[in-house]
Every structure is written in C-alpha cells, then in structure tokens.
Symmetry: C2
Subunit: 388 residues, 2 copies
C-alpha cells in the first residue's frame, strides 16, 4: 500500500509559506507519497477536514509556490491536552506515515507535542514566521519577505516626507514581542534618504518623555518630515502594551491595537504635527515585495522537511545555520522541536543602539542578505534641504 | 537670450508625478529652454527657492521618471490674493517664459489665477492626483497607479482572510470627497477571490445600522473572513466625516482620521471580530505597483504640456478624452484651467450599486485599463469553503 503524508498550516500567513508547502508536496509527489492537507490548521486535522493534494499538477504546485498567504487555510486554535489522543487517532485511522506542521512558535510547540504521541507517524515542523523569533535557527522563512516589505515601504514613505515635510509619520510594523521586522526598516536607508529616523522595538521599554525628546532631536536634525517605525507590540516600563486593543487571541496573547495612532495622538497633543500608517496584514501577504532568497529558502525547507521524514527523522524542524554573512552562505540543519518549542528569540542587545531608538550595523549586516537584493535606490534631486 | 521655464509641484505626491516632471524638463532640454524648479510648491516660487534643473542629464531625467513622490518638493500652502502680484514679480524678475504647475484640484485653481496675472509668461497646468477628481479629463495621472495599489492590496488581503477567516478586515483607502480609489478595489475580484466584499464611498452617506446589516449579510454569504474597503472621507447623513481627526489642512479642508479603525471598533462593540488596516501614504508613493499605462500617460502629459506652452498656449491643462474603453484608446486634449479649477468630479450615480455598498461593471470597465495590466491571479486550492 502506498504511503501517505498529512500537512497543515498554523498561525498568521506569510508571503512564502506556500513555497514551503509546495516544497513538501512536490517531494511527496516525486516519491510516490499521497499528500493530504488538513484544511484550516490543526483544527482541520482534529476534525478530519481533509483535502487530497495529489490532484495538483507540478505546474499547479509551482504556481502555489508563488502565491502568498496560507494555501490550505490556517487557524489559531489552541490545542488542548485532550486533543492529542484524538490527533493520534486521526493519524492512525488514516494511516498517515508523515505529518508536517507548517507554522511559527505556537505551532512548533504543538508539533513537538504531536511528535511525542504520534507512534509510527514521523513528525516534522516546517518553520514559518514573519516575526523571525524561532529559537536555534539563524532566521525563519517568511521573515525576509516581510522585512523587504517593511524596508521598501519605509523608503517610499521617506520619499513622501522629503517631498512634503509637514509631519512626523509613524508607521506600525508587525511584531508583538520581537522587533526584527521593525528593525528591518533600517535597510531602507541609503546615501540619499535617511528614513527611518527613529525605530522603536518591543525589546526596549517605551518611555513617553524620551519619545518626545527623540522626536524633537530628529526634527532638529532632519527637518519636520521624519519617519518613525514602531513595533505593534511596543510596551511601557510597566509591562503593558502601549496600545492595548483589549482583546486576546486563542492562545491568550494580548492583541495589540493601533500603537502608531496612539503615538501620533501623543505627538499631536504636544503640538507636533503627525500622522500614522498601519499596513498591518498587507505586510505579511505582499506578493510583490517577496524576497527571492526567502522564497527559495522556504521552498528548500519544505523539500528538506519531506526528505528528513522520508529518511526516518521525527521530532525535528529544518532551520538554518549561517556560515558567512558576506558572501551570504547558510547550511540547512535539523533542530530538535523540543528545543525550539515556545522559545522566543528576541533581537540581541548587541544589535540595538544604546539609546534604544535604532539598530546598528551588526543588525544591518545580519538582515541585509535575507531580503533578497537591494531596496531600490531612487533618484533624488540634490536641492538644499533648507529649501523645504 | 535663451528661454526659461519654471515648474513647481503642489499637494500630495503620487507614484508618477515625477514622470510628468521628467516629461516637461526633457522637452525643455530638447528645445534649449533652461528648466528651473520652484522647490516645495508655490511657496518655493513666492520665496524664490529655485533649483536649476539644467544640470540633470537625460539619464537622470529618466531615473526621475521612475521615482515616486514629488522630486522637487511639494507644499500645501494656500495662495492668498496678495501673493499673486508677488508671483507676477517673480516671473518677471527671472524672465520666466513658461510656468508649469503640477498638481491637483487646489493647484489647478492656483494655476488658473496665476495664468490670469502672468503677463507674457505662458502658464500650463500639469494634472496630477491620485483622487481622480479633476473635472473634464477622463481621468488623472496618478490615479491608475494608486488604483493598482489599492486593488492588489485588497486582493492580497483577500488571500489572508481566505486562509485565516477569523475577522472582518476593514481597509482604509485615500479619498476625501471622491471615492474613485476605494471603488478601484473592485478590480481585485476574479473567479477565485471575492474580496472586497463591501465598498463604502463618500458619494453615499454612511448609515451605521445599514453597515451592520451589510456586514451580517456578507458574513452569511462569504463566511467570517471578509474584506471591507472604505474611503477615508466617509461621511454620515449629518454631513460630518465618520472619523474626524479634528484638524484642518492649509486649505481649510478637514483632515479625516482613522475611519477604518472607527468602523472596526463599531463592529467589535457589536461582537463582530474585526481589525483595520491603513496603508495611508504608502498607497500614494508605491513604486512597485505603478501602472505602466499611468506612468507613460503622466510622462506624455508632461511633454505635451511643455509643447503646448512652447507653441503659445496659456491657461490650459493637458487631459484625456477616452475614445474607446476596449481596446483602451485616449486622445490628449487641452482643457481651459478656468473650467477645471476647483470643480470636483465624483463617481457618477450610474457606476454605484443601488445599495450604495459597491460599484458595478460600468465602473470596472472604466477603471480596468487605467491600472496598467491585470491584477495578479493567484493560484488557490479549491477546497470547500465550509471547511474553514
């Protein structure tokens, strides 16, 4: 009898999560393994909402590779202890030889627990998260593309405020506890454009008085038109998120809400003209600003995840170890899910400027190769800044 | 003695306003006319903040053509009656043969008044506005690119909520009085993706009770995950903007603030899970989602504006008359500034659905050729919607 694999996707979509999915099912197809999707995350597995992916042609699979967002549906269901026996039953009942769970932190925790009760089924975690906060791996599939989006977007905002320098523009970037994405806006800078002028990360407590001082200093130096990048999960010294939506998600995590607008209102109340932008979900599904490096790594991660399971591995996640930053060189490596599960990798202190309102060159050297090529260098007419 | 031209840009940047600037100065260069920029809008003219563009090579000018935002700085200064004699003095003092003002509604009004007092100087308005609300012309340079951004962004949000259908996502689209841009999100739809599920325009009063009914009906039909596009200038039956920032700009226009967040909060208070996104300024300076049709038309508009002035025309604006929608065919035409000035072209009733929460095929046929090619058709796995 032929072998079968089951795959599900968990948590927020990314621009390249389907590249990993495509990698897994392409290898399955090539090895004669029937690929089945659990639709809508782990809940789809529990409830046997299955879709047979075998009908997809190789061309379909390659189109899927280039489609942002989670192609088989995702979910935010928090698995309960009593769900694990049920998951085991489902895997047994359908004689699943290989189970893949394609997700971030919470999903790797779930995946680890499934691996411990899965019996004969081999279980592999397929990493994805725009937040870049998974432990052990150098970086995570999905991060490079969302970072590219953040950097390009802030560069273009920089062009806008250069042209019309009438306000401080605050842009909210995804990231609850880890500021990797907000930090990536530093990649927008070149010799012509200085945006972002300030970057606030959840790794540092947000202090209102210091914020006003920072903004005043930046406007003294660069003029009225400045761009400020802030992580959505920005937290005060009291440990509370600066902009709390008052809601929690299925995992009990607070859903942050509108930090950019909150900060913008703070500035307006101090008489500093300001406005806020929040691309929000757009930044995690932009197909136009995908990092090709990220997409190929995500695809390769999927393929290697299948191959690991095929070769007998279980309870591991495929990740990256960086061999060299310039030229950029990584090797793929298997990390134990038990060590990855529910650890959060924050930006190390060594990458954050002492003032806590920017990142340094160590961060830039780390992140630059991941975004898959340069952020565009736009042509700017070198008129004197005093003119505006 | 050689001839001289002066150009300034007014109002909000667009992704292709520099294509028009490039068109004007390229023709000037080819005709041996010295091109000077007034930096930072009409105020730059009044204050003689001049920059000599003659030093730009043709290659620089073509790079400028591909750079979003206003390359010579823009402004929101409202010209006072007493400024016009001063403008006349500046034009005389510097012996300006041709004056170009590259802007939207307010700028065309200013340009019209300048043309009436400019003496020997020939004055041409170079149309630009993402809002598409200039009178007489079929459409405006800048609109097609911002419309492409809006449509692609909503399509990608549609992929996100298809994958994770846990909320109604409200996206705020620029547009104060005219809903052309919000309406353009209708171009996101194809046979696989139904987003946006609702579109709210400033051309119709916003009625809270009807909004809840609309959202309920859409969620009944499409599931929990829906995308709602709203114009930033959405206004209630009482004539007040739904989300008033409490601020006015230099022209006395109210600055709308956060309508998507306001609507999202309304839904949350009714127990409907919702979140809001606001790309804001990002949508008017995205270099990645430029419509090539729009960019070429903006460039050609610039060239023809110069040629009109060169050939003796004054007090006119170059615009478009549509000869055919499919195949798309326009002709360039000169419209009198006196007729364009301060008129606002709203979406005609014939393009809006009777329910006021969508646009019809007449709108789609109008807007489709302007966005410069198809919005991408992403590959979606056809699992049953009931699975999610």
């Amino acid at each position: 009898m032929g072998k079968k694999m089951l795959i599900a996707q968990g948590g927020g979509p990314t621009p390249v999560i389907n590249a990993s999915l495509a990698g897994v099912i392409l290898e399955a197809k090539r090895h004669g393994v029937q690929a089945i999707a659990g639709i809508g995350g782990i809940e789809g597995v529990i409830q046997e909402r299955f879709y047979d992916l075998s009908a997809l042609s190789e061309i379909d699979i390659l189109r899927l590779k280039n489609t942002p967002s989670s192609g088989i549906g995702s979910g935010r269901y928090k698995v309960k202890e009593e769900d694990y026996p049920r998951i085991r039953d489902v895997l047994d009942k359908h004689r699943i030889d290989y189970f893949f769970y394609n997700g971030g932190n919470d999903s790797m925790d779930t995946c680890n627990k499934v691996s411990q009760i899965a019996g004969e089924t081999r279980v592999i975690g397929v990493a994805k998260t725009i937040d870049n906060d998974l432990a052990l791996t150098d970086h995570c599939p999905g991060f490079g593309s969302a970072a590219r989006y953040a950097a390009v977007t802030v560069k273009e905002l920089g062009l806008d405020v250069r042209a019309l320098p009438i306000h401080a523009v605050i842009i909210e970037i995804m990231g609850r506890n880890a500021g990797w994405l907000a930090a990536s806006t530093a990649l927008a800078r070149d010799e012509y454009l200085s945006a972002p002028h300030l970057i606030y990360l959840p790794e540092r407590p947000f202090i209102e008085e210091k914020f006003y001082d920072d903004v005043n200093a930046a406007q003294q130096k660069y003029g009225t038109g400045i761009v400020i990048a802030v992580s959505e999960g920005l937290t005060g010294e009291n440990g509370k998120t600066v902009a709390d939506s008052g809601m929690v998600d299925g995992f009990g995590h607070t859903i942050p809400g509108g930090v950019a607008q909150t900060l913008s209102t703070m500035l307006l109340q101090k008489g500093i003209k300001s406005r806020s932008e929040k691309p929000g979900l757009v930044g995690r599904v932009s197909g136009f600003l995908v990092s090709e490096t990220d997409r190929e790594e995500a695809f390769e991660t999927g393929k290697r995840s299948f191959m690991a399971a095929w070769e007998g591995v279980t309870g591991f996640m495929v990740g990256f170890t960086r061999l060299s930053a310039d030229p950029y060189k990584i090797k793929y490596e298997l990390f134990p899910l038990s060590e990855v599960a529910n650890e959060e990798k924050l930006i190390p202190d060594s990458m954050i400027m002492p003032d806590g309102n920017d990142v340094n060159n160590e961060f830039v050297a780390y992140a630059k190769p991941l975004i898959g090529g340069m952020v565009p260098k736009y042509f700017t007419i070198p008129y004197a800044k005093e003119f505006l």
